[in-house]
């Protein structure tokens, strides 16, 4: 019921939905990039990185979506729904990308904790002991 309704809304307001998904993911990437470039606090920079990742994951799934498609699971009622299914490959890739993003974020945060122990500050401009 909800999904059929969603599909014909999809067809009617195509541009708005496209703007919704693509626009949001690019906006997220730009916001994350702004944080990484502008902010001084290390935790804020890692937050920026995870927002960039969020934007990319949304773009992955957004591009994999097919209008009027169902989730790629052959549950009991859908054995022969193969041609009406959404593209499964970007979803499989994004599954791995999310877990890798989490692993990198956790290593980055443990480095911040150790940096704070040594320098007693979490601000990038006061940790400039290594020169160019």
């Amino acid at each position: 019921m909800m999904q059929e309704e969603f599909n014909e809304i999809f067809v009617k307001y195509h541009e708005i939905i496209t703007l919704g998904v693509y626009g949001t993911s690019i906006a997220l990437m730009l916001i994350g990039l702004y944080a990484v470039l502008m902010k001084k606090n290390l935790v804020k920079i890692v937050i920026g990185l995870s927002i960039i990742d969020a934007g990319i994951h949304l773009l992955f799934v957004g591009i994999g979506y097919i209008r009027g498609g169902t989730a790629p699971i052959f549950s009991p009622g859908y054995e022969n729904a193969a041609n009406r299914m959404v593209d499964p490959v970007p979803q499989a890739l994004v599954l791995t990308a999310i877990v890798i993003g989490f692993a990198v974020t956790s290593v980055a945060l443990s480095l911040i904790i150790r940096l704070y122990k040594h320098h007693n500050t979490a601000k990038i401009d006061q940790i400039k002991s290594l020169k160019w």
Partner: protein, 91 residues
């Protein structure tokens, strides 16, 4: 029709939460912003017919990423510009 409104509102909340988590000075609120971003993202994935990814984003994005951020803030300073910490040390 409601779905379209919900869709647009979610997109706006997502961007607002991202900007909030970047701009806010208190890191704890910034981390809550990332939690909201992950939550809305998980709902987006559900609407875009990707239940596996929605579950992963919910489990990892909302629960664990927020937790390790909060643990990091516990061990470093809660205020972005560390002005409050300087005052505490002076006291």
């Amino acid at each position: 029709m409601i779905i379209l409104v919900v869709f647009i509102v979610m997109a706006l909340i997502l961007i607002a939460a991202a900007i909030y988590s970047i701009m806010h000075r208190d890191l704890l609120f910034a981390v809550m912003g990332t939690g909201i971003v992950s939550l809305i993202l998980s709902l987006f994935f559900y609407l875009l017919q990707a239940p596996d990814v929605a579950l992963t984003e919910a489990a990892i994005g909302i629960a664990l990423t927020t937790i390790i951020f909060i643990i990091t803030i516990r061990n470093t300073s809660r205020d972005e510009d560390e002005i409050i910490d300087k005052e505490n040390e002076k006291l």
